[in-house]
Amino acid sequence: MVIAWLTFLAVMGFAAVTRLTNRFGEQRKALARHLYEQGVGEQQAGKPEMAIEHFRAALSYSHDNFQYQLSLARALRDTGRTGEAEAYLVSLWEGSPQDGAVNLALGRLYAREKLLDKTIQFYHNAIYGVWPSDPDQNRLNAWFELVDVLLRLNALPQAQAELITLSASLPHRAELELRVADLFSRAQDFPNALLGYQRVLQSDRGNPQALAGAGEAAFKLARYRTASHYLSAAVAANPQDAQSARTLQICNAVLNEDPFGRGISTSERIRRIRAIFEEAGQRLDACPSLPPQSPTGAIQSGVVPLESRWKDMKTRLAHLGQRGESGLADEVMDLVLQIEEQTANCATTPQDQALLLLAQNRAGVEQ
């Protein structure tokens, strides 16, 4: 009987408190919504600190609200309070580990902290996670963002691996392929970049961005003739493209001055070597070389300065092409390479850069 009475009282108490908490809960929710909206407004107005305060106040009245927590965590992360943002996000992630937005936010947080493994882990979670709306686009955006983050973190092998997977699963849309090709190029995977641009050009022949990209990629691959082809088209399509125009100049200079190119006569080869040698001498006059240094940076004693070596070589250059002087061309190019490297800080013209490339690439540029 006593227990029955106590149970009855407890049930009545539960009913009364439930009613009370429900009513109070509604008020809290309304208050929280109001504070949250204020916070969003302040965030949009560029007042993140005020926004954080209002998000926080909103959360104090609606502890479990996913959106409020996510907004607060993002605001905290964006203002550099990564520790607190992480606590919120990890708590959200523990509640719904499959949520794309939470995983993406965590990925961004760890990217900000330069924690590569965690960054990749949570971006992958976001890419394969659940998105309430427009999942394909959100996943694609997360993937592109991951590659971008990896490039910013200078994690080139990881970025290249992501790009290879991404390019294989992309729908065939020129703008996406172009974007991937650009990213390949940034990841210094020039063969794939060139292929990507070429795929874009198959469907859109005159795309100036693809032409420029293909030219740059070919240039990086030392395929100067191919580069010259694309860059010429790119400059023709977009005369404002200064970068392509400059690269094209270098390409043309390389092609015109290459002393090792196939199909040129011996006299032409000698002429080109002499011309290159003279240009290097002029550079040396304009930019005095540093004293010879060891690989550790110490000044080496007993090493002949470049100026003396250049003068010495000039006297020997008269014998270029003669029998018994077959190695002289290489010696000349070695000296040119050293001069160009020593005076690289003065190498500003396309001609200088072409010289450097020619000296580096003794086997002959692409024909």
Partner: protein, 594 residues
């Protein structure tokens, strides 16, 4: 002093019984089919449920009051922040003086006093008054917390539920701590800490009967609170760093600083409280208002964080929201604000402010240490969390509770070593600089003399080994003939001799008895066959000396036996030995003097 003793023990030291003890059949409790013991456990669950419901309402009331008086997000430089605590302070003073005179203070001492003086009685009017006045005070920004009032409300509800149930006096006394544990557990959302605190600070004794009912009530109240308010903990604990052993020095420093802060806090309260109470009675009307005005001014000038319980700001401190300078300022201001609120008699608890001060101080100390030693890996959150435990140990002087509270709040066992270390430092420093714990100090200021559980803990216990002396020689055997026994005692001093029985047990015989047997011509008969069939009670050297008092008046010599071998006699103890030991008091330097 122990109010919860069970019936006198019949342990191994009692005379051995030839038959196993018969278990007494428990009568059904009136109105139920359960025994009193079991019904009390059931009632403990109901106490927990009702305490949980009350605490839910209490927390909602505080929040509602806070929104109404300070606004949904209190900000500095607003008039309501400046004025609300002062105006509410006036109202509270009137209520306390004219309507609810028993609601001053935190509630822990009142519960303890009820337990030891009034058989656990706390009027329900006090609970109602505490509910209203504490909600007003905390909601308006007075620097107090809801835990201690919840404890008292729970204890009062427990009494209200159990008073008409015809429980034995022992059970009636137990109602208050059971309710107190439920109230505290619900307020803290931490049942283990609540149980430990009540056992450590209120009851002071462990036993299965007490523990069962206290745990049941605490758990049921927490379930109720989580049902209504959600299961989220008080704080979002940031990822904690597991420290390298060398970094423990940093936590030891935190323990020292925390111990000193706890002493300052306790001394400030101990100094100001009697002086304010000694002022003319008319000033009692304005004291809470003045405290409120000063607190409001602090909030108005830029530190509204110190107003109210401040849990959300502890949470922020743990997440690096404040620079260490700000944390240190907040800790100092909170000590000031809480001292003012408390000494003016504003109803409210000290748990939350203690945690607040600890969190801020911990964060500040951690910040300073990392400034000078950047390689320290502990985060601000780690230091803040440890700091909470430090203040709890140093100020409230509940060392076990302080450790478990941090573990329960953090849910991370890896932090236990720094917590124990820092808490130990804080506790030792606080004890040496402030010998009387804060709750005992407050009790004595109120003119009461309740048992100090810390003093009891630290009291030197006299044991049997301190009073026993070597056994009288010879020790006789029950199988010895009277003639042999007579020869053995011929040249021995003393008048009483122990007799070893076969196969086990002890008896005693006097010189006169043996002489009488000899004169009666029973020389060939064995001593055992002539002695009455009884066995002496016995003791072990580690037994408390007070246990010997139960037996030394029944028999002239009580044998003290080895625990490993009951036939091995370690010594004997008589009533004269016990009395002589009690007359000797240990002196300051440890030497014993008469």
């Amino acid at each position: 002093m122990n109010l919860f003793s069970a019936s006198p023990q019949a342990g191994p030291h009692a005379p051995a019984s030839p038959t196993p003890p018969v278990r007494k059949k428990m009568a059904a409790f009136p109105g139920t089919t359960l025994s009193e013991e079991r019904f009390f456990l059931v009632l403990a669950v109901f106490i927990g449920v009702f305490a949980g419901l009350a605490v839910v309402c209490f927390r909602l009331s505080i929040e509602w009051t806070s929104i109404a008086l300070l606004g949904p997000s209190p900000e500095p430089h607003t008039l309501r922040v400046l004025l609300a605590p002062a105006l509410v302070g006036l109202l509270i003073a009137v209520l306390v003086i004219h309507v609810f005179p028993q609601v001053r203070g935190s509630g822990v001492n009142q519960t303890k006093a009820a337990l030891y003086i009034f058989n656990g009685y706390i009027p329900i009017r006090t609970a109602i008054g505490k509910f209203i006045t504490a909600a007003l005070a905390i909601g308006s920004g007075h620097s107090l917390g809801p835990e201690d009032p919840s404890l008292q409300i729970g204890a009062s509800l427990a009494w209200a539920l159990g008073r008409r149930m015809n429980f034995s006096r022992e059970k009636v006394r137990l109602l208050a701590p059971v309710g107190a544990a439920a109230g505290l557990a619900a307020a803290f959302n931490a049942p283990i800490s609540a149980v430990l605190f009540v056992i450590e600070e209120v009851i002071g004794r462990w036993s299965v009967g007490i523990l069962g009912s206290v745990v049941l009530s605490a758990i049921s109240s927490v379930v109720v609170v989580r049902w209504f308010l959600g299961a989220q903990p008080l704080f979002r604990i940031p990822p904690l760093t597991v420290v390298r052993p060398a970094e423990l020095v940093a936590y030891a420093v935190l323990g020292i600083v925390g111990g000193l802060a706890a002493v300052i806090f306790a001394k400030a309260i101990g100094f100001l409280r009697p002086r304010l109470r000694a002022l003319p009675p008319s000033t009692l009307y304005v004291q809470p208002a003045i405290a409120g005005l000063i607190i409001g001014l602090i909030g108005y000038l830029g530190a509204p964080q110190i107003m109210g319980a401040g849990y959300q700001f502890m949470d922020q401190a743990m997440h690096d929201q404040f620079a260490w300078q700000m944390l240190a300022i907040l800790a100092g201001l909170k000590i000031l604000a809480t001292t003012l609120s408390f000494v003016t008699g504003t109803p409210g608890g000290m748990f939350a402010p203690t945690l607040f001060i600890g969190a801020m101080l911990g964060g500040a100390v951690g910040g300073v240490e990392r400034h000078f030693y950047p390689h320290l890996t502990g985060t601000t959150g780690t230091y803040a969390l440890v700091g909470m435990g430090v203040l709890f140990a140093g100020f409230l002087r509940a060392p076990m509770t302080s450790v478990f509270m941090v573990l329960e709040v953090s849910g991370d066992y890896s932090i236990i070593v720094p917590v124990i270390l820092a808490n130990a430092f804080a506790y030792v420093i606080s004890r040496s600089l402030q010998p009387i714990p804060i709750f005992d100090l407050l009790t004595r200021q109120d003119g009461l003399e309740l048992p100090s559980l810390e003093e009891q803990r630290e009291e030197t216990i006299l044991r049997v080994e301190d009073a026993m002396r070597p056994p009288p020689i010879p020790v006789l055997n029950a199988a010895d003939p009277i003639q042999q026994a007579n020869q053995q005692i011929e040249h021995a001093s003393g008048n009483v001799f122990l007799v070893r029985l076969s196969p086990a047990g002890w008896n005693s015989v006097t010189r006169e008895t043996i002489k009488r047997f000899a004169s009666e011509g029973k020389l060939e008969m064995s001593l055992g066959s002539l002695l009455p069939p009884q066995r002496l009670p016995y003791l072990h050297p580690d037994h408390p000396l007070e246990m010997a008092l139960r037996y030394v008046y029944e028999t002239p010599l009580v044998p003290v036996l080895s625990r490993a071998n009951f036939l091995k006699l370690e010594g004997v103890v008589s009533s004269q030995d016990v009395m002589a030991k009690y007359r000797v008091r240990p002196s300051e330097n440890g030497a014993e003097t008469m």
